[in-house]
């Protein structure tokens, strides 16, 4: 069985595993902090205010943790975080969903499913980049 080594699948599989790691560790935190903690009053009312929250989005914690010399990094890290969470979760989820469709009987449609699924993930990631740069 002297077949050529597949170089394309492992690339997407790498995005799948990396995205799985990101989605498993970062996404729950993001959902908890953004969508659950405040409405469920885990964080008390009034504790979150606009100005400090904007400061977080601009990367104030980076300066706090790494000092003033890291100030140039500050605006970029939150954007990178958003792009990684959105893109990672999309590449992970759509790869998994593609395999679910294979196992459900669509294994013949590999040539169609591959571009569609990874295309959706790529478009979603691009949208994530757009979102990340839509705030200052």
């Amino acid at each position: 069985m002297a077949e050529r080594v597949d170089r394309i699948t492992p690339t997407f599989w790498g995005l799948f595993t990396l995205g799985g790691f990101i989605a498993a560790f970062l996404l729950p935190v993001l959902i908890m902090m953004n969508s659950l903690a405040y409405p469920l009053r885990v964080v008390p009312w009034g504790a979150v205010q606009y100005a400090p929250a904007l400061g977080w989005m601009r990367g104030d914690p980076v300066v706090f943790l790494l000092g003033r010399s890291a100030a140039w990094l500050a605006p970029w890290l939150p954007k990178l975080f958003l792009v990684l969470v959105i893109g990672g979760a999309l590449f992970h989820g759509l790869h998994r969903f593609k395999y679910v469709l294979y196992d459900a009987g669509l294994h013949g449609a590999k040539k169609v499913l591959d571009p569609v699924m990874y295309g959706i993930a790529a478009v979603g990631t691009a949208a994530g980049v757009f979102l990340a740069f839509s705030f200052p």
Binding site: M1, D6, T9, P10, G14, Y99, V100, Y102, D103, H107
Partner: protein
């Protein structure tokens, strides 16, 4: 469709006996199970290409005791009721890996499954799924053997040292790294359970991948490059969708599904390294 084929005129092979007959008078070969008041009805998938192109099911009702396994039932049928029943077996103790069959639709070692634990009646016993059937419960293992061979399942050395200088030594910790994968008995239950192998017969499959990882993890081996190249093809490990059923049915807890994911990680790491550092050899 159980159309009884016309018996051959030759007297060498007796015509199939009528279905579900009580056992004939005891022969010395196998004594009737003593203290067996219970009976069990088995529905066995049969295929006899020399008589009929159509596979069919045949039902047998046999007495059994609580300590009898499915393989004992098959032996009872072959010895006492129908000597034409064909199936593989050898050790009766779950280590030879030859007695696998689909029992109630899930792949099992028939020597390790007790009749008393089967709830349905009749109990359906079929040849392992996803394989070509040669006769009755006997499947063609040739494609499987070729897959095993394709992963270089032996220690590959770049520098072979002369025998006088002794063996390649290994610590217990190094042995532990691949011990789990080395426990495979090649029973092929994982292939019968694998939906990916079910629709792509070229798929390398669970056991062969676990075997590849067994040598990958061996500290004495130096053939990683060719072995990873052999498994990371378009019909190799990347076809696995991680259903995980192979690890569920594995009687030796080899965890082939986990092994394939480990191979994927190794192959992907190697590929990334070769793209980022094209001049490095390992």
């Amino acid at each position: 469709m159980a159309g009884a084929p016309a018996p051959k005129p030759a007297s060498a092979t007796p015509p199939p006996p009528p279905r579900s007959v009580p056992p004939p008078p005891p022969k010395p070969a196998v004594p009737a199970p003593k203290g067996s008041s219970k009976t069990i009805k088995l529905r066995i998938g049969r295929y006899r290409p020399e008589r009929s192109a159509e596979p069919f099911y045949q039902e047998f009702t046999i007495p059994y005791r609580d300590d009898m396994v499915v393989l004992d039932a098959l032996n009872y049928i072959k010895d006492r009721i129908d000597p034409t029943l064909a199936y593989r077996w050898s050790c009766r103790m779950g280590i030879c890996g030859s007695c696998g069959a689909d029992v109630e639709g899930s792949p099992k070692l028939t020597c390790a499954l007790y009749l008393k634990d089967l709830r349905k009646s009749p109990v359906t016993i079929e040849p392992l799924a996803n394989f070509a059937v040669l006769k009755d419960l006997i499947v063609d293992i040739e494609p499987f053997m070729e897959k095993l061979e394709s992963v270089n399942p032996y220690i590959v050395r770049g520098d072979e040292k002369p025998i006088e200088r002794g063996e390649y030594r290994q610590t217990p910790e190094e042995l532990e790294l691949y011990r789990q994968q080395s426990l495979c008995i090649n029973c092929m239950l994982c292939y019968a359970a694998c939906p990916v192998y079910g629709h792509d017969e070229k798929f390398l499959g669970p056991a062969a991948s676990a075997l590849a990882l067994r040598y990958e993890m061996d500290s004495r081996d130096q053939g990683s490059e060719e072995r990873l190249a052999a498994v990371a093809t378009s019909h190799g490990i990347w076809q696995c969708t991680f259903v995980g059923e192979c690890s569920v049915v594995c009687p030796k807890h080899v965890d082939p599904a986990g092994a394939i994911q480990q191979l994927k990680a190794r192959a992907a790491t190697r590929l990334m390294r070769s793209m980022l550092l094209p001049l490095s050899t390992r």
